[in-house]
């Protein structure tokens, strides 16, 4: 299995050979930032294209197919259009908070994005409390959305933000508890270690029943957390025009759009890291030949492939189910998912303590 840390160590050594210590660190930091930005932008563009195409196929349309082959240049055209649109100054907004909100949303998604293990040795932030840190930073996004809604001084925005706040904090509980179920199973919170532990089989197979329940809960809660799919009532366009970003225009709006797609990627990235083995290939204990063949597929393809599968499921939700009402949404969380989650946590502890897993 190719280890990306070979490349990073080579670059490190190369820089150290002709630069002083301090300059090396600065150059490396800049390189990390650039790689992160390029990855962030590319994934966002790919996701926008994929969403439009998939949505089109679900509705028996063709989707974008004029700009470039198969419409592949469409997201670039969209991006430039958004950059060249006027940023309208609204009279009665709280200007500071209004401008601060996109920062919060983007910071949350970039920090969470930086925690994901893309391939063996290819991960920016790797704390020993990694997965906990990821939950913590991704919850900053809620503050951004609430600020956007409050600062806009618009009734649609306010209702959208309040709904969004109630929805996101509620479903964050389910995300936290289902991740905790897997932390009980793994016995560590460091993301690299969690991935390494799945060498003999992914957690969703090794943890059998409680892991599968946790995976389903995580998918539902993750879809709600990104304000998508049947849970998109913060921006329900038929009742609230655009919800919390009604007053945002041009690139200001573009950031919310960007963050929504990247949050979807982060949710699917965490799902594939915790449940589907991250960059770890599909291994069956005892089948040495099979495992070696699987190791030939690069780890980054495994990770992105698993993310793609999970993202396709999330998009499938969006284009299949009708939107929920706020009372149905909160009832689903507090009366079904939270009790089920607590029960599932205890079930997982029983499985771990009495060694009933594979």
């Amino acid at each position: 299995m190719f280890d990306f840390s070979v490349v990073t160590h080579w670059i490190d050594g190369l820089l150290r050979s002709f630069l002083p210590e301090a300059a090396t660190i600065v150059v490396e930091c800049v390189l990390i930032g650039l790689c992160l930005l390029v990855g962030y932008a590319l994934i966002a563009l790919a996701l926008i294209y994929a969403e439009r195409k998939i949505c089109a196929f679900f509705q028996c349309r063709l989707g974008p197919n004029r700009v470039g082959p198969y419409g592949l240049c469409q997201p670039f055209a969209d991006m430039f259009k958004m950059l060249t649109k006027e940023i309208i100054e609204i009279n009665h907004v709280d200007r500071f908070l209004f401008n601060l909100a996109p920062f919060m949303v983007i910071i949350a998604s970039v920090l969470a994005f930086g925690c994901l293990p893309f391939a063996k040795g290819l991960q920016v932030i790797d704390f020993n409390v990694g997965i906990f840190f990821l939950i913590a930073v991704s919850s900053i996004g809620i503050v951004g959305i609430l600020l956007a809604g409050w600062a806009s001084n618009n009734k649609y925005s306010l209702i959208g933000a309040m709904r969004s706040g109630a929805q996101m904090i509620s479903y964050e509980l389910s995300i936290g508890l289902s991740i905790m179920t897997l932390v009980v199973f793994a016995g560590t919170m460091q993301i690299t270690e969690i991935v390494e532990l799945q060498n003999d089989g992914w957690f969703i197979f090794r943890g059998h029943i409680p892991a599968i329940i946790a995976f389903v809960i995580y998918l539902v809660a993750g879809t709600a957390e990104t304000n998508r799919g049947p849970f998109d009532l913060p921006e329900a366009e038929s009742e609230l025009t655009a919800g919390y970003h009604t007053e945002y225009s041009g690139m200001h709006f573009g950031f919310f759009y960007l963050a929504e797609y990247l949050n979807m990627f982060v949710v699917s990235g965490v799902a594939s890291t915790l449940f589907l083995g991250g960059w770890m290939p599909f291994h069956v204990p005892g089948w040495e030949g099979f495992n070696h063949v699987m190791d030939y597929i690069p780890s980054i393809i495994w990770f992105l492939g698993k993310c793609a599968v999970v993202m396709f499921i999330i998009m499938w939700f969006k284009w299949t189910f009708p939107r929920l009402r706020i009372d149905q949404l909160l009832r689903l969380e507090w009366k079904y998912l939270v009790p089920l989650n607590l029960f599932n946590l205890l079930l997982m502890v029983v499985v771990v303590v009495f060694n009933l897993h594979f």
Partner: protein
Amino acid sequence: MNLTLFVVVLLTAILLVVAAMTIARAISPRTFNKQKGEAYECGVPTRGKSWMQFKVGYYLFAILFLMFDVEAVYLFPWAVTVQDAGINGLLGVLFFIVILVLGLAYAWKKGALEWK
């Protein structure tokens, strides 16, 4: 090392927003119109302020969330060590979770989970 990387990623995020906003402000057109600055309300002028008292229902869920979120903070360290703690870890936390479930049941019975 990790803390440095955290700061780098944070600065990257801030830089992304600042750079994109600067480019957008530089190349986007500007026109002035008195109507344009009004709050959007599907064509009619907006009435009253939007910074007002809001439905208390959301607040109840926020309080409930606080209770369970603090619980999650307590449970995460336990989750890491439960494999070493074994059956004692299970029994100890069972007590904790039963009290929490009682709290949830109380809120449920009082009607805090109903949307009115």
